[in-house]
């Protein structure tokens, strides 16, 4: 009986799955066009899945092995099942392979079940709780029906009742694993995830050591193009596809500083809300952690309805979007390679450019950027006042230099001016030929862009690019990772290609070249805080640590450091939009510092310095790497070899601070 039933069941499930797939594809196609090479993407899929995706999944070893067994077993079992039971090709090795595949899958599903017994808070419950049982149903029933096929059991084994029961389990397994894959069950992640990897909007992020972190520019010349994302259908189709790939693993949630601070943001829920939006409906079925302080079930949306309501509630509330610090911890952690930050900024763009609803100090900061080219509204002519006694060479005078020192808006901030002075001292000690733009420099546009004001960003960027084009230099060096990121990764699309170095990278290079010498470190224990825009955005984790090592400092790492570093709370305009939570992000970070036992935290970003220094009752001192280096400078042993005039240049440097 089963021999006749099985092909019918299998092909019926496959047929329904194809219909479901077609419906799902139609949902994604509501999005705006986005040109991606389809065939090339599909060809790259296996590599992206096996290498790039597993690189992320592997951070959790048990889960990684579980997934390999379950998913690998399933894919093999599904293909073989179609051959063996669908087409009746049980002879020879195929049947045995199918037994092996389904057994592997069963072992995997045992681990899935174990993890579901006491699931961590970040995992979604609901339908996900039945997944291990469904996996077992599929693997066990396939195993059982294959036993007679390979001749271990007689074909007429057991009672017809047993056969009927087995058929029911097969239906369950097929229902979840094949039908559910395209009709919206937990297994949807496999179908959407595979296509998402193939048609990813940032193909350049795949491959060893590659990253793609710059925001994509809005085309402001096309007046018909929407400014940002108002409704789910304003996302590109492959962004919608990406949202649909989410497995609700909650790794993003566990890393999100805003969520930990009790601000109304949870990146996982945000992605799920986008899925609700693209299909239409309410978030009542969501079975994970909510946005802190916002009960589930009160929001709803449609593909062509607004995401943020002008009045009342729609899919998400504006404060959810404004809580994000754009720290990319979620993106770094997401095994499905979903781009949360792109989506958040897209929606912010609409709020700022179309509605003029940048919260709190947002409007004031943007007005300042428009009128004075800096967020604080300071007189642009005073950008170099902190260096009145330093005699910094101006690009306008020298026209070319080896290094263009980009000051950033920290030039207006008294705390950061100390860092800048230290950096100048270091550069002079190493006899670097550098110059500054001085009053010709403008804000890089980082904050404007992350507040969604693409127009002001592009205006600042284009003017900066024009200014930079007047001069010749080999590289830009800056102590501001935000400027570093924007100049290095975001100006390119607007026509400005530069080689940019963070000051820690540059100092490390100078040290390696023997151009700096340091007195041994005598202070207490030190930890290092990775700035998001240096680490996750630009992959620079080593240079700052190398500099500290050269200073004789042994870094006491915090639990969350390197690519898992926790944000200081200063990015993405978050201090400006200032969405209240239960805790403050910088307080949590200084607590991390405290737990490391360090007495001093070395940083490499003016934002981090300001945020961490703003913590009351902190147990550690906050110093920029440039300051530590400047304090430790001693004359180089090889100084005799340098000719007299250069030595003089070195002397003035000592009077700098």
């Amino acid at each position: 009986m089963l021999e006749t039933l099985l092909p019918i069941l299998i092909f019926a499930a496959l047929g329904l799955a194809v219909i479901g797939a077609w419906r799902r594809v139609r949902l994604w196609r509501q999005g705006r066009p986005s040109a991606v090479p389809l065939l090339k993407g599909l060809a790259a899929l296996p590599r992206r899945y096996l290498v790039d995706l597993h690189h992320v999944v592997e951070r959790d070893k048990v889960m990684s092995n579980t997934h390999v067994a379950t998913a690998g077993g399933f894919v093999a079992a599904a293909v073989l099942m179609i051959l063996v039971h669908g087409f009746g090709l049980a002879q020879g090795v195929l049947g045995w392979l199918l037994l092996a595949a389904s057994a592997t899958m069963f072992v995997g599903s045992l681990f899935v079940a174990r993890r579901r017994r006491n699931p961590p808070a970040r995992l979604s419950k609901g339908p996900w709780m039945r997944l291990p049982k469904s996996l077992m149903a599929f693997s066990l029933s396939v195993f059982a029906i294959t036993l007679p096929a390979v001749g271990i059991l007689p074909a007429d084994f057991g009672h017809w009742l047993l056969a009927l029961a087995l058929a029911a389990v097969v239906v369950w397994g097929l229902g979840e694993m094949v039908f559910g894959m395209t009709w919206g069950g937990p297994m949807k992640h496999a179908f959407a995830g595979a296509l998402h990897l193939a048609f990813h909007r940032r193909a350049e992020r795949f491959g060893e050591g590659n990253r793609s972190t710059g925001l994509k520019a809005l085309n402001l010349d096309d007046e018909a193009a929407p400014l940002g994302v108002e409704k789910p259908a304003d996302f590109t189709w492959n962004q919608l596809l990406g949202f649909d790939a989410c497995v609700q693993c909650g790794r993003c949630e566990a890393m999100c500083p805003a969520f930990a601070a009790g601000q109304p943001l949870n990146p996982k829920k945000l992605i799920q809300d986008m899925v609700v939006g693209l299909a239409g409906g309410s978030d009542a079925n969501y079975a994970g952690s909510p946005y802190p302080g916002k009960p589930v079930g009160e929001h709803h949306g449609t593909p062509h309805g607004p995401i943020v309501a002008r009045e009342g509630k729609a899919l998400v509330d504006a404060e959810t979007l404004w809580s994000c610090t754009t720290c990319r911890a979620c993106v770094e952690e997401c095994p499905m390679m979903i781009e949360h930050v792109d989506a958040i900024v897209d929606m912010r763009r609409h709020l700022t450019l179309e509605r003029g609803q940048t919260p709190n100090k947002g409007a004031e900061v943007l007005d300042n950027l428009i009128a004075t080219d800096n967020p604080g509204g300071f007189d642009p002519g005073s950008r170099l006042h902190w260096a009145a006694d330093l005699n910094l060479p101006l690009m306008a005078d020298v026209k070319q230099a080896e290094v263009l020192l980009w000051l950033g808006d920290g030039a207006f901030d008294m705390r950061n001016q100390r860092t800048l002075r230290a950096l100048v001292k270091v550069l002079r000690a190493a006899e670097v030929e550098f110059a500054v733009l001085g009053t010709e420099e403008r804000d890089s546009g980082d904050v404007a862009r992350r507040l969604g004001d693409e127009a002001t960003f592009q205006s600042l960027a284009k003017r900066n690019i024009t200014t930079l084009a007047k001069y010749r230099f080999q590289r830009i060096v800056t102590c501001d990772p935000h400027s570093f990121h924007v100049l290095g990764n975001e100006y390119g699309e607007l026509g400005g290609q530069y080689e940019v170095r963070h000051h820690s990278t540059f100092i490390a290079e100078l040290y390696d070249a023997g151009r700096l010498a340091f007195a041994p470190w005598k202070g207490g224990s030190v930890t290092y805080h990775d700035p998001c825009y240096l680490g996750r955005y630009n992959g620079e984790y080593e240079a700052p640590r190398n500099v500290l090592k050269a200073l004789g400092i042994e870094v006491k790492e915090m639990e969350r450091s390197g690519f898992r570093s926790r944000c200081c709370g200063g990015g993405g305009g978050a201090p400006i939009t200032d969405i209240p939570g239960e805790r403050r992000i910088p307080d949590m970070r200084m607590n991390d510092v405290k737990e490391s036992g360090a007495e001093l935290v070395a940083v490499g970003c003016p934002q981090c310095t300001a945020m961490l220094e703003g913590v009351v009752d902190a147990t550690a001192e906050v110093r920029d790497i440039a300051e530590l280096v400047a304090d430790a400078l001693v004359a180089r042993p090889a100084v005799e070899a340098v000719d007299a005039s250069r030595r003089n240049a070195g002397k003035t440097a000592e009077e700098v601070i």
């Binding site: 007046e223 400014l227 700022t352 450019l353 179309e354 509605r355 003029g356 609803q357 940048t358 947002g362 409007a363 943007l366 007005d367 428009i370 009128a371 004075t372 509204g377 300071f378 007189d379 642009p380 004001d453 127009a455």
Partner: protein, 268 residues
């Protein structure tokens, strides 16, 4: 029974502003507050209509500044196009008289040009309408009479009833302007009508020089303790040495003023 509140027609006069630090053209702060007040009125009195009016030359710089107002959520701005240096008052008065709105709102003082703050007065005089300055809020409009709240120094408010049509001017006491959004600003229309330019003859005769900061009288505080110093700093300015002249002739008044100016060293 609540008396019927009807929507009214509001015209907001806007100018091209000037940023106090960089001098870049922008939406003028007071005019933007005026528009904010008008938009609030539109919500308060359903059926009201807000129109934007500017008289002046059309240039790229001016246009982007004027679009700053449109970004607050309006579709059009009526631009009475004039040559640089023309007198805006006759053009505005003529335009307003041709299709009179019930309420005209304007900033108290322009940020560039003369900035004398006389425009609302000159317009009121020409049109023969009442003028209220320093407006803080429009409370209600009933049967052609508006109840207004006027801002006085130190946060005091005065309630006034004014028969419409009227002109009101706003200063920093009015609600702060909402953010201007790029999209609506870019899409909105500048409806330009050329108007005969009457050169401002008086202005042409003037000599213009960059303004200097007005000297501030130094408060000389003799205080022994930090507490006294703080009290002195926080105390409100007292016009202790002032003198009220009542029932004096014009000559006597002028003499008193002259004497004061000499004492203060303004005239030497």
């Amino acid at each position: 029974m609540r008396p019927e509140q009807q929507g009214i027609e509001v015209a907001v006069l806007v100018s091209v502003g000037r940023h106090p630090i960089t001098g870049r053209a922008r939406r003028a702060d007071q005019d933007a507050r005026g528009l904010e007040l008008a938009l609030g009125l539109e919500r308060q009195l359903p059926g009201s209509r807000v129109g934007l009016l500017h008289a002046g030359p059309r240039s790229e710089e001016n246009e982007s500044a004027l679009r700053g107002y449109l970004g607050m959520g309006l579709d059009t701005l009526t631009l009475l196009e004039q040559a640089e240096g023309s007198d805006a008052i006759p053009a505005l008065a003529e335009h307003l008289a041709a299709a009179p709105p019930q309420l005209v709102i304007t900033g108290a003082r322009a940020e560039r040009g003369e900035g004398s703050g006389l425009l609302p007065y000159a317009l009121a005089e020409r049109l023969g309408w009442p003028l209220v300055n320093g407006l803080a809020a429009v409370e209600k409009v009933e049967n052609g009479v508006a109840t207004l709240l006027q801002a006085l120094p130190r946060g005091q408010r005065r309630r006034l009833k004014v028969r419409l049509p009227a002109i009101v001017s706003v200063d920093a006491a009015a609600p702060a302007a909402r953010q201007s959004a790029f999209g609506p600003a870019r899409r909105a229309e500048l409806a330009a009508t050329p108007v005969p330019a009457e050169p401002d003859r008086e202005l042409a005769e003037w000599q213009l020089a960059p303004a200097r900061k007005r000297p501030k009288r130094l408060k000389i505080v003799k205080a022994a303790s930090a507490r006294d110093r703080f009290k002195a700093a926080a105390a409100k300015a007292e016009g202790g040495s002032g003198q009220v002249l009542e029932g004096v002739s014009a000559e006597q008044g002028a003499e008193a003023i002259l004497k004061l100016l000499n004492e203060e060293g303004v005239l030497r």
